[in-house]
């Protein structure tokens, strides 16, 4: 689990009045949930964006407006819907997902998908038609043309993934509802993320520790952004 060493590093940078392992386990849960959710969402959203960008079909406008609406969809409502789905009374009740990381991944997936799809689509449609035509003229198949366009749009897609990640990791309402903000008695997080930990500290009036956790969260987001931008810079030379 490559996220583990990262989570271990964080407490060495900040000295917090918490039990050992508390902060690193929270960072771990935050990264685990958000990265998996965004990865799954990217695997789902980018193909959808490619499909929408390369084909015309009746009702395409409707699909686009649904995606755009989804970008502004309140996260708390997503949390409620996922809660309804995974609650014991819900359609997925038998899986017993309530108050687990998996339920949190579900709600973050739902949250991250619209922005990733919409921004990827904008990037793909933004690629100059000449590029597409050139690829076809040079004897490329549709797939070749698509790959060329993807390569041109890679910055836009990286931005899309970042936007999705930003929405996922900074989200508090839905993960609080479906995850339950749980740590075990020894202070190791099970479903507590940085955002819900901040919420808990604020609830208890511990504003200073809340601020420190907030700084950790901001640092994480910046670090992930830096990594992705770098990744985009090196290009997709495969």
């Amino acid at each position: 689990m490559p996220i583990e060493p990262v989570a271990q590093l964080v407490p060495t940078l900040v000295d917090l009045p918490f039990r050992e392992g508390y902060v690193s386990s929270i960072v771990y849960v935050s990264l685990y949930v958000s990265l998996i959710a965004v990865t799954l969402s990217t695997l789902f959203s980018v193909p959808v964006a490619i499909f929408l960008g390369f084909t015309d079909f009746p009702g395409k406008g409707l699909v686009k407006s649904v995606i755009n609406t989804g970008m502004g969809f309140p996260s708390v409502v997503v949390g409620l819907i996922v809660l309804f789905a995974v609650s014991n009374q819900g359609p997925l009740g038998s899986l017993e997902l309530i108050f687990t990381k998996e339920a949190m991944i579900m709600s973050q997936f739902v949250l991250a998908t619209p922005p990733i799809t919409a921004i990827s689509l904008a990037a793909i449609t933004g690629v100059d038609d000449d590029v597409r035509d050139a690829a076809r003229v040079l004897g490329g198949t549709r797939l070749d043309a698509a790959l060329v366009v993807l390569k041109e749009a890679r910055y836009g897609i990286a931005t899309a993934v970042l936007a999705g990640f930003g929405r996922a990791i900074s989200e508090v309402g839905s993960v609080l509802i479906v995850g339950g903000n749980i740590t075990s008695a020894d202070g190791i997080s099970k479903t507590r993320t940085l955002t819900t930990a901040i919420q808990l500290e604020a609830r208890q009036g511990q504003y200073e520790t809340a601020m420190v956790l907030g700084a950790v969260l901001v640092a994480l987001v910046l670090a992930v952004n830096a990594v992705v931008v770098r990744f985009g810079d090196q290009g997709v030379n495969r």
């Binding site: 689990m1 490559p2 996220i3 583990e4 060493p5 990262v6 989570a7 590093l9 964080v10 060495t12 940078l13 392992g21 690193s24 386990s25 771990y28 849960v29 990264l31 685990y32 990265l35 998996i36 965004v38 990865t39 799954l40 990217t42 695997l43 609650s87 014991n88 009374q89 009740g93 038998s94 017993e96 309530i98 108050f99 998996e102 993934v161 339950g180 903000n181 749980i182 740590t183 075990s184 008695a185 020894d186 202070g187 190791i188 997080s189 099970k190 808990l200 604020a202 609830r203 208890q204 009036g205 511990q206 994480l220 670090a223 992930v224 830096a226 990594v227 992705v228 770098r230 990744f231």
Partner: protein
């Protein structure tokens, strides 16, 4: 520092790339560490913000988890939400403090084997200068009436929690309908409500435990004491614990829930509750162990034996 930063970035990069490549197995090292030796049984407890935010549960659960080799997932929600989760079968055991709501929960068949667990009491807190002059009334209802008459700011939890339920009962007993600019419902946990009251110089009703645990952070002071300090009985705050009825929700972990109830009402756990202190003060008073059997705990609130054949 820059060296460390580079390490973090590199490690983050590896993590992100691996994550993006989709090779993150479920249940990573962090989980395994947290649940070493756990037989896989997990007890989900929904409870109130007051038991959780005071740190009591974290303090005492360790010994239960060790004893049975299980883990307890405590979800702090407030009494109303905790009971609702239990009704939906999303928890196995529920620890709350609103006897009326608990009786209803039991009557409707969602809960079984309710036990009295512990008590503390409610206090009315407010700013030191006490604009409504409630200090020294010694009566909760008179104090609330005075606050309403003065139109002094009052913060209500407004979240269907045990404390909120108690507050509404107090207004009812005082014969006053709260409302107006001075009455603010926050919809938050007790700690946050205390903070808001502190910021605004408002009065609020708090359980003594949460107030003590936050006393160092806020300038509010106790103006009407509860029964622990000789105040009126109406401010008592008993906590009960119930198992979710496995007949209603077959996925409820009934055996573990009963093990938990048995453990938390045992002399050892009750002693741990009594010994739990914050800022040098005892927060909760155990109530499950007594010299004589306490059959009264099984009698619903307000129940009387005046049946028609008497």
């Amino acid at each position: 520092m820059p060296i460390q930063r580079r390490e973090v970035l590199t490690a983050l990069g590896t993590g992100t790339l691996a994550g993006l490549a989709g090779c993150s197995g479920m249940g990573g090292g962090g989980e395994e560490e947290a649940s070493a030796g756990v037989t896989g049984e997990t007890l989900t407890l929904t409870t109130t913000t007051s038991t959780y935010d005071t740190g009591l549960l974290d303090e005492i659960h360790g010994s239960f988890e060790e004893m049975y080799g299980v883990s307890v997932d405590a979800v702090a929600q407030g009494t109303g939400a905790a009971l609702e989760s239990a009704r939906n079968g999303d928890s196995d055991v529920v620890m709350v403090h609103a006897r009326g709501l608990e009786d209803e929960f039991m009557r409707n068949g969602y809960g079984v084997n309710r036990r009295d667990l512990m008590f503390n009491d409610f206090v009315i807190v407010g700013p030191e200068d006490d604009p409504a002059g409630i200090s020294g009334t010694g009566s909760a209802t008179e104090a609330l009436t005075a606050i309403a008459d003065a139109g002094a700011p009052f913060v209500s939890r407004g979240d269907n929690s045990g404390t909120h339920t108690k507050e509404l009962n107090l207004w009812e007993a005082a014969g006053t309908e709260p409302g107006g600019d001075w009455y603010q419902e926050t919809g938050t946990g007790m700690g946050e409500a205390l903070n808001i009251a502190n910021q605004q110089g408002a009065y609020t009703l708090s359980d003594r435990g949460t107030f003590i645990s936050q006393r160092s952070e806020i300038d509010l002071t106790i103006l009407v004491q509860g029964p622990i300090e000789g105040g009126p009985e109406i401010l008592s705050n008993p906590y009960g614990i119930m198992a979710v009825n496995p007949g209603v929700h077959e996925n409820a972990n009934y055996d573990l829930a009963m093990a938990y109830i048995g453990w938390i009402t045992s002399p050892a756990a009750q002693e741990a509750i009594a010994n739990y202190q914050m800022n040098g003060e005892q927060l909760f008073f155990p109530e499950a162990v007594s010299e004589d059997p306490d059959f009264q705990q099984y009698v619903p609130e307000g129940w009387s034996s005046d049946s028609s054949d008497a």
